[in-house]
Symmetry: C2
Subunit: 362 residues, 2 copies
């Protein structure tokens, strides 16, 4: 159901600017013919590109601004100089004003998160937003969050991430009861940071519409042990980039190994279909698009360095979450946290029983 869906696009974010955005929309028009776009950016720069891409013009409304948030602007700078007038601000504002159901920007993450939080505000029962993305696994895909929005969340914020992440997984994978794991350095209960241990205790004690699997480790990400992996933004970002770097490293080793002999090169030639399939499977562009969760509006962050193919993937994510009405699903599930005691191990543990909390009997 993509009829009636409009996506707002920041035409001036990312390392490659408008060409990436317009090229991405061109691809998206084929995949989502019913979707309409609002593109915020410099009209003069856009005009020649729209001549080249008439299909984009046919489904898009261009809103002019020549104020851009720079890729190296600090969040505070971006808010100061880009308030109301920048393409990034206007893109997010379109979601707030109901002109679009989701916004996509390849602009700088810190600025985008700051602006999105200022404009859209956090949902009830959310302390801080999280960035969620799809992680390709041996079993398919998992939702992983937070990937860099919130450094040092407390235990209850990790619980909120779990609730938001599972709603995303339910919408995306159609699993009625997604499995959720907390990223840790061992499966035993005694391991890990206090936040992670306390969050696990909370997740065990409260009745929520998902299956809490317990702790998972770094290698469970690739295995796809659970549908949703929850962690703090610092660890999640490092894990994501470590995995991306490792993929490049293995492919680099593979290329060098193949170059090392004529026989291997012939073998490579014969197996090139398989290698192409591998490259497609590992292409970071196909899993581009991190969703900001916990705000009163849907904002999708595209990698800054991506191309049109990658930007089209971020648009896919926007269309998916908008047409599934993810926002309301998340806010419904978050309401289950109403009145939940945030300090079950603290001094007020004795009065920890609230409407939705339930001590498991097993």
């Amino acid at each position: 159901m993509t009829r009636g869906i409009t996506i707002a696009l920041d035409g001036m974010g990312g390392d490659h600017g408008l060409e990436t955005v317009i090229g991405g929309v061109e691809i998206a028009t084929v995949r989502h013919p019913d979707v309409r776009f609002l593109i915020y950016g410099d009209e003069a720069l856009m005009a020649p590109l729209l001549v080249k891409h008439p299909r984009v013009g046919a489904v898009s409304t261009i809103i002019h601004t020549d104020v851009a948030v720079a890729m190296d602007d600090k969040p505070s700078q971006a808010l100061r100089k880009g308030r109301r007038t920048s393409s990034m601000w206007m893109t997010i504002d379109a979601v707030k004003e109901g002109q679009a159901q989701a916004a996509v920007s390849a602009g700088n993450t810190g600025a985008l998160m700051a602006m999105a939080t200022v404009i859209l505000k956090t949902m009830p029962n959310v302390g801080r937003p999280a960035i969620a993305a799809l992680w390709p696994t041996m079993r398919g895909e998992s939702v992983v969050l937070d990937l860099g929005a919130t450094i040092g969340p407390d235990a209850f914020q990790l619980v909120q991430f779990a609730v938001m992440g599972q709603a995303y997984a339910r919408v995306l994978f159609g699993t009625p009861r997604p499995t959720v794991g907390l990223l840790n350095i061992g499966e035993e209960e005694i391991k890990g940071t206090e936040q992670v241990k306390d969050a696990a205790q909370m997740l065990r004690s409260i009745k929520l519409p998902f299956e809490f699997h317990g702790f998972v480790e770094g290698d469970d990400l690739g295995k796809g042990t659970v549908d949703v992996v929850v962690t703090d933004g610092y660890t999640g970002n490092i894990a994501l980039k470590t995995a991306e770097g490792t993929v490049r490293q293995v492919l680099d080793y593979l290329r060098n190994a193949i170059k090392s002999s004529i026989m291997a090169q012939i073998g490579y030639f014969l197996a090139q279909g398989a290698f192409r399939a591998l490259a497609t499977k590992l292409d970071p562009r196909s899993s581009n698009g991190g969703v900001f969760l916990g705000l009163n509006g849907l904002v999708i962050k595209s990698h800054g360095g991506t191309d049109a193919i990658g930007f089209a993937s971020a648009i896919d994510v926007a269309v998916d979450v908008a047409s599934a009405d993810l926002l309301h699903k998340i806010s419904d599930d978050l309401s289950l946290l109403n009145g939940f005691d945030k300090n079950p191990s603290g001094a007020s543990a004795s009065d920890a029983t609230v409407s939705n909390a339930e001590v498991p009997t097993s």
Copy 2:
């Protein structure tokens, strides 16, 4: 210079026990014919293995104990039931007593770290120990620490990790001034946890025998951007396991891609030399062996699930660090931290100038 080196081995650690240890020593006798071994474990179980491996018997002294620390013992349990009598305790104690220059155990990490800390104590200027290991990179190898010993170190402890890690890199790679990076979620100074930001400030302000590169990100691990990557034990452990999992995932994809067509299988057959080289390069057994740094004695942790080939790699690490006298190099470098102000941004910042601290002029 391995003459005169003796390595103490825990015969009862790991998932596969004595066979792995004796098999590992068999391999090590070829690589290090001058090295002698003390093996702690059950004599009755060892006897038949020594008949099978006469070369091991020729270079080893067996010290009997039938008390083993279990792989799932909590550190406190291990200390209670294994004090003095367990193979793990006796192995570490041999280092303390000067009978061996390094100890190797494949036993459980928490118990090993707890016992090693109790027996050997931390060095001056060390708050908590770290586990350092070699990380294969596109450029060669980097030292990465901490991989799981210390959860939530403060900024000054991260500085200590940097000092210890660079000493290890100097000894191992022979680089006179290793480059050191702090793992973070961006290269900008405003990003990351308070601990990481404060540690960066300290590392910039103090004169140390290495090059502080600044922040590095997760993908810099595989790239080999710096010789030493410093992080906390929680993040380091998750990054390591994420990378290991990603390697398995890519190889799994590769296998499936090749299985998908006859042509690819023929290609694989022709290129199998290259694939074998790749498999060897990515074999986790060849980088097995994490060194505990910051204690008054050298202890090497082998993966619990490794085999004889992997255990031999851990012995290699032990022989390397023992023959390079890593312990004294670390303690010399740590003395540069004498009197360093741990709160440069705190209230006492005005009197931060100490003997070895130097504010950079640029």
